[in-house]
Assembly symmetry: C2
Homo-oligomer: 452 residues x 2
Amino acid sequence: MKQVKYTLDEKQIPTEWYNIQADLPKPLPPVLHPGTKEPIGPQDLAPLFPMELIKQEVSTERYIEIPEEVRDIYRLWRPTTLYRARRLEKALDTPAKIYYKYEGTSPPGSHKPNTSVAQAYYNKKEGINRITTETGAGQWGSALAFAGACFGIEIKVYMVKISYQQKPYRRVMMETWGAKCIPSPSEETKAGRDMLAKDPDCTGSLGLAISEAVEEAAGREDTKYSLGSVLNHVLLHQTVVGLEAKKAMEEIGDYPDIIIGCVGGGSNFAGLFLPFVKDKIDGTKPDIKIISAEPFSCPTLTKGNFTYDFGDVSGNTPLLKMNTLGHGFIPPPIHAGGLRYHGMAPIISHLMDLGLVEAKAIHQLDIFKAGVQFAQHEGIIAAPETDHAIAAVVEEADKCKESGEAKTILFNLSGHGHFDMSAYEDYLAGKLQNYEYPQALIDDAMKEIPQL
Amino acid sequence: MKQVKYTLDEKQIPTEWYNIQADLPKPLPPVLHPGTKEPIGPQDLAPLFPMELIKQEVSTERYIEIPEEVRDIYRLWRPTTLYRARRLEKALDTPAKIYYKYEGTSPPGSHKPNTSVAQAYYNKKEGINRITTETGAGQWGSALAFAGACFGIEIKVYMVKISYQQKPYRRVMMETWGAKCIPSPSEETKAGRDMLAKDPDCTGSLGLAISEAVEEAAGREDTKYSLGSVLNHVLLHQTVVGLEAKKAMEEIGDYPDIIIGCVGGGSNFAGLFLPFVKDKIDGTKPDIKIISAEPFSCPTLTKGNFTYDFGDVSGNTPLLKMNTLGHGFIPPPIHAGGLRYHGMAPIISHLMDLGLVEAKAIHQLDIFKAGVQFAQHEGIIAAPETDHAIAAVVEEADKCKESGEAKTILFNLSGHGHFDMSAYEDYLAGKLQNYEYPQALIDDAMKEIPQL
């Protein structure tokens, strides 16, 4: 069998992130203030984020330098390996060439530290020694905890209470890196106390955890807040994935016809495709297909509206123009916790509106079927989120088998599933089902989208 | 910061395993038949192992070719990365240079598939489509399950019942790769039924699980048995670790003064040091210190006798000359499940007897302290077994700080701790204690060692 792994030299870790805002055919719509509905300025965000990240949020510079201190941490796991899935190709009997960039070798096990490390660095540089955040199942919280350990920053994570109780191991991971993790709703914020007064048994939600983390950061001089997806600067930091993949494929002498990734807030997928979509925009590679894979149970891109909405459930964040199912939309309890978000990164939503990205929804049973198939041939047991991408890849590879075309497919294997084995257990035991959200309920949730 | 990762090219995956039996100053003592107490021949082992592995067990050829089919699977994660722990060095303020070979990126998360893949291959080649084995916490069972998926071999794992119930995720991993995993004691073997008749609530033990797996393999023409440590052929397969490490250090222009690894059965550590101990034997590097790190609670090398004993608790296996605490020794329930074995690989025991390897025992609280320190500086959360090696490394690095010597330390980071977070949870919650086995109880257990 021929080579399966392509790993760049450590010296080839990118020195700059790629900023898509420099190359958009049409600029991103402005972010609006939740009260005035007018475009916000940097000072509106200053209580929550360090100024350097606020600048990156709106920058139109094509390349933004990666600080040497951030690259020093990236060295612990970057450059990540680009694999050729030769054993899967053979099992599928497809003429397609399947490549994947594996981000699961970072200490927290996913792409998330590409941005948590950068965010922690800029906070530290501006004198911030304390950051709050929220986490659902714990992927993001553990990535920020790791970054906090790297720079000596105190990290406080509001973890949705039901996950805190049922999935203790991500929490222990955070604590091992020195972070404080508390169940949300908590007694430590007004948002938490109000909820507990209403319902002492409340098991929490991501929207509520966001409210608690934001409230604490906004109320304390010494504390900022950090978000793990959706925002422009988060996607910017993730472009190390795509820049490395592009460089490796260049060295191999190949280029993807199809790029695939799973999307919740959108950061892992954007990280991979943004450096390639540049070539589609400038006409060098007009025919690349860029496919977002999302769950049928939370079909933000395939059924949502492209409009202004809040980022959180309670409606306190600035208004972002994005694909949304309505900020009150509560997805069913699928196992891919990282994809259960009502909105989508404004950059991805905008590119889809421009016809540069497409989307497909996938059923839960299909994603686990693909994940098990992948594990049996390629070895890696992927996160259920990532299995959405794998299912879409298998479908494209099957199309190639039918048509006889030897297309080159590239996808982001965004994380391993070592902390998600209960999901595989339920699948293998036949306990899972598909969820397709009734259109009427989606229509209801979308009625809550604010009218401007 | 300077380079931290050294990864060989995929073409540099070793083409041959290194066989220490070619270079031993004194040959290994023979293996004896449990009944006759006479040296056994290949035919005695034929019901359990394919002939090629039996030949490897006694071979004195210096290099044994790695079949291309095995290297093709190794490619999925090999060569593994050799890291320089620059951030840990800085935190310890030591002049020592600390390197580690990280085996946790294999699909099952440890060094174990280096041999499971080879064993599965030789079985398949000799027409065997079914293998039984036992597993405690699940590291070995999952490695063999992965290997079974690679070659289309049915794997049946007898998993100690208490682990089967309390630690379901390794089991789900095995099932995801297609293996069958059943709790031991089971109704499927005489050994299991006898035990259940005596004690229906028996939660099992590794010794009993071995008995069940061996009984089934011995009783079925179509089935062989597989062992994950201790035996010579297992250590042989693990030498890919040391061969790669040696090559990488050669490219860096460095050579270890001290080599450290944790030991249970001994395979991960032997895999690392055997290609180096060769240089100590032939006088090229007479001064390398080779240190085995074992738990105080199961002090096989530091307190055991070097004598003939059985490999299993019930006394049915051939007699091996090895360090042993007595085959009836039951270690306390420490979290490093992989180090709870009464014996030690005959090769390591023999090398220690020859004065080529030394050993030290480490307390449970010290290993977790070192593991947390390592995680906070190097990112990787290691398995509790591996934390024994890390604790020994920290101690040697501290000695260098005192003496001012810039020694080069190399250790095997044999696996990640993603399935051991409950151990870290207990440590962080202050629930753990040190265990030092009373000498009187060790003496009692050693009385059971057979007299020849």
